[in-house]
């Protein structure tokens, strides 16, 4: 007889549950494909393609969304507790602040001082505030702010703040805290053990807010994300860095900084050389022939540039190659008699103007192609051509002089530097862990305006990463890791799908145009299994967490998601600042319906459409089953949108002990 001990029983139960979850995922995806394939190939109403196509695209979007969710849940489970923290590790605790009240920052910093594991605590003040410095010093805290190197150079917001502090400190590990995230004393004791694995670069813990009541009108808590979803990503070694309440290994960050630096320098130097060759060619063709001395000089520089390109292609290190080239060019220009000094001065002015005009964006500055075009368009003198090539090469030398510091370990390609950074770390073969235990308690926004701004920022940052470093094509990560990052980005595209989901029932109820060409029976036969399986999947994998509010917000905030996509697109491809669109003023008092005006308009249209549909049915114009289905759909949409009404009326957190 076999006697099972308690652990074996639990293990078996876990295995059985895992098997069921996986079965459910497979079933959901199969019935989903069954539905979408039927919708695409057998039931599309091509006569009304203008709504039929958007709707089926939206449904395909949702199927992919559910499939990615299924993949996330495939390996989702809590980790075992890590080993105890080894003594003797060195840790820097960073508290990042920009404009938060000094008392709030100090409150967090005092809690940080009380962290049990030995550490140094630093306030990283990006606001450079004198009273902050004094308060920090009075409390015995380290105080770090940007130095002169950052003047007239891109600041890169929080990423820049952290990068600056990395250079000023030396702990092996870094605990990053937002100014309003109060750490518990055991935060390091309970997490440093993960780093016994030398490949672990990051441990993320949940972000939980203390100033949110059970109703959570603004949807601040993210228990599904800081729970099953991060655990699911963790299962594929893709737990994200979320900016705060995380511990990072300095060596991993610095290595990332080095590798990126070499990569950026190589890219910039090659681009500059290519551009320089172009300018020289143009200068020789148009003007060189007139003066043999200058022609010879241009020829020498051309040869040197060409030789450098060959040498670099053959593996010559960038440092020596650029150094030699610059010396050669300096020699050539020294040999030239500047008989048109005035012309040359004008050229230099033009070059400077070009460099100034790029407003400090790294991408813009190294966009040599643009500068070259502009230079070629200007009527440069031949001597000017040599000088401009020299200036161009210098501006993108290996010293990366357009940046405050050569190493930028925290990614600066996005306002969500956290996600971009962890993706790069994973791409380099580092591992991450998600530790599911509340070890810091933060403050959530207390009004809808601030909350929306925050969501907009996250969505913008995530879209920036998608556009700049699409995870699907990043080398170094496994397919599952790529999909885990892509999944989060994909979820921010829901705004476009929402429009189709709102428009389709309105169009049917008002105009009688049906995007689906079928009978009700055929439709439900395929639709119901998919929708039911998806909802069961959410309930089962949510492990008792209410997932409904999240689903509501993902559709109801459609204007935010769309704006995030369009502004991020304009930022990445048209170099427009992200906050180009002026955000609404924070509320003065009372409900701020302005913030949700598009949703109110949609809700009104939906309600009117339902009435029109019913009237059409009574008049005998409307088709009964279609009308019923679409009225139910409208009600569903209205329930989705209804999440915003308490949010707009939310008057802030009322603590039970001290009512305000």
């Amino acid at each position: 007889m076999v006697v099972l001990d308690q652990t074996t029983v639990t293990e078996r139960r876990d295995l059985a549950k895992r098997f069921l979850v996986r079965l459910l995922i497979v079933v959901t995806v199969i019935v989903g494909i069954n539905y979408i394939a039927w919708r695409l190939f057998f039931s599309l109403n091509w006569d009304a393609w203008w709504i039929a196509l958007p709707l089926v695209l939206a449904e395909t979007y949702s199927l992919i969304d559910v499939s990615l969710y299924g993949l996330t849940m495939w390996r989702s489970r809590p980790r075992d507790a890590p080993a105890a923290a080894r003594p003797g590790l060195t840790v820097d605790v960073f508290i990042t602040t920009y404009n938060e009240p000094v008392e709030l920052v100090i409150r967090t910093a005092r809690a940080a001082l009380d962290i049990r594991y030995p550490h140094l605590t630093w306030i990283l003040d990006d606001g450079k505030r004198e009273d902050m410095r004094e308060a920090a010093e009075a409390a015995g805290l380290g105080y770090i702010t940007r130095g002169d190197d950052w003047k007239n150079r891109p600041l890169h917001a929080k990423a820049g703040n952290l990068n600056n502090a990395l250079m000023a400190t030396s702990g092996e590990f870094l605990l990053i805290l937002d100014a309003d995230q109060i750490p518990l004393p055991e935060i390091l004791d309970n997490t440093l053990g993960y780093f016994d694995d030398p490949l672990i670069a990051l441990v993320q813990t949940p972000q939980v807010f203390g100033n949110v009541d059970d109703n959570d009108a603004l949807g601040s808590q993210a228990p599904l994300f800081y729970g099953p979803i991060q655990q699911g990503k963790d299962g594929w070694n893709a737990a994200f860095f979320c900016g705060s309440n995380a511990i990072l290994r300095r060596e991993a960050l610095m290595q990332l900084g080095i590798v990126r630096y070499v990569h950026e320098v190589e890219r910039a130097v090659l681009k500059a050389l290519k551009g320089a060759a172009g300018v020289l060619r143009e200068a020789r063709r148009t003007k060189g022939a007139a003066d043999s001395t200058i022609d010879a000089a241009l020829g020498k520089v051309s040869t040197a540039v060409a030789a450098t390109r060959v040498a670099i292609a053959a593996g010559e290190p960038l440092g020596s190659a650029t150094y030699q080239l610059q010396r050669q060019i300096t020699e050539v220009s020294r040999g030239l008699v500047a008989d048109d000094l005035e012309l040359m001065a004008r050229d230099i002015e033009a070059i400077d103007a070009l460099r100034m005009g790029t407003d400090g964006d790294w991408d813009a500055i190294i966009d040599v192609g643009q500068n070259i075009d502009a230079l070629a368009a200007r009527d440069l003198s031949p001597l000017g051509a040599v000088t401009s090539v020299q200036a161009l090469l210098r501006s993108i030398d290996v010293d990366r002089s357009d940046e405050a510091q050569p190493l930028m370990p925290l990614a600066t390609i996005s306002v969500t530097e956290d996600m971009a950074t962890s993706m790069r770390l994973h791409g380099m073969g580092w591992k991450s862990a998600y530790h599911h235990e509340t070890l810091a308690i933060g403050l959530a926004p207390e009004d809808l305006g601030t909350a929306l701004k925050q969501r907009l920022r996250w969505a913008q940052g995530t879209t920036q990463v998608l556009l700049r470093e699409n995870p699907l094509v990043q080398r170094g990560m496994s397919l599952a890791q790529r999909l885990m990052y892509f999944s989060t980005m994909w979820s921010y595209l829901s705004g476009f799908a929402a429009i189709a989901y709102f428009a389709a029932p309105v169009i049917f109820l008002v105009f009688g145009v049906l995007p689906v060409n079928t009978t009700a029976f055929e439709f439900f036969l395929r639709f119901l299994p998919f929708i039911i399986a998806s909802q069961v999947l959410f309930v089962v994998t949510g492990r008792g967490i209410a997932t409904w509010r999240g689903q509501q917000y993902s559709l109801a905030l459609f204007p935010i998601w769309i704006r995030a996509c369009t502004t991020a697109f304009a930022n990445v491809y048209l170099k427009r600042p992200l906050d180009f669109v002026v955000t609404e003023k924070a509320r003065q008092s009372g409900p701020n319906w302005n913030l949700i005006r598009p949703q109110i308009i949609v809700a009104v249209i939906l309600a009117i459409a339902a009435v029109v549909g019913i009237v059409r049915l009574i008049l005998g114009i409307g088709e009964p089953i279609g009308t019923i289905i679409n009225v139910v759909w409208v009600v569903f949409d209205l329930i989705i949108l209804s999440v915003l009404f308490p949010a707009a009326r939310y008057a802030g957190y009322q603590s039970e002990e001290s009512p305000r």
Binding site: E251, I258, P317, G319, P406, L407
Partner: protein, 111 residues
């Protein structure tokens, strides 16, 4: 880690490093390069012969030094890394940036 500075004249300084170049000692190297450049020696040769261990922060200090020297119109070169250091240079792709010279004293012999 100990740093001995040797002035070769003509604006060239050799920095002999001894020990571990890591996150703790990196700032020392950074300061020494800064001092040398401020003193008019903008061509810096860093002798790594006696460096038994280097980490990414150490590499970061070399890059910072390179920046400092280049901005002053000079250069920073490294010489005779051991196997561990070579491996790190390779892993981080730093060898794409910096040539490892055989001998620090002669790193600037060609100018």
């Amino acid at each position: 880690m100990d740093i001995t500075v040797k002035d070769l004249g003509d604006g060239v300084a050799v920095l002999h490093l001894d020990g571990r170049l890591n996150m703790v000692t990196a700032s020392g190297l950074r300061d020494q390069v800064g001092t040398a450049v401020a003193g008019g020696r903008n061509r810096i040769a860093v002798d790594l012969t006696k460096i038994e261990f280097i980490d990414s922060s150490g590499l970061g200090a070399l890059i910072n030094g390179l920046k400092t020297a280049r901005q002053a119109g000079g250069d920073l070169r490294i010489a005779s890394p051991n196997e561990q250091v070579k491996l790190v240079l390779q892993l981080t792709n730093m060898e794409r940036l910096l040539t490892a010279y055989d001998d620090a004293e002669t790193a600037f012999i060609d100018g």
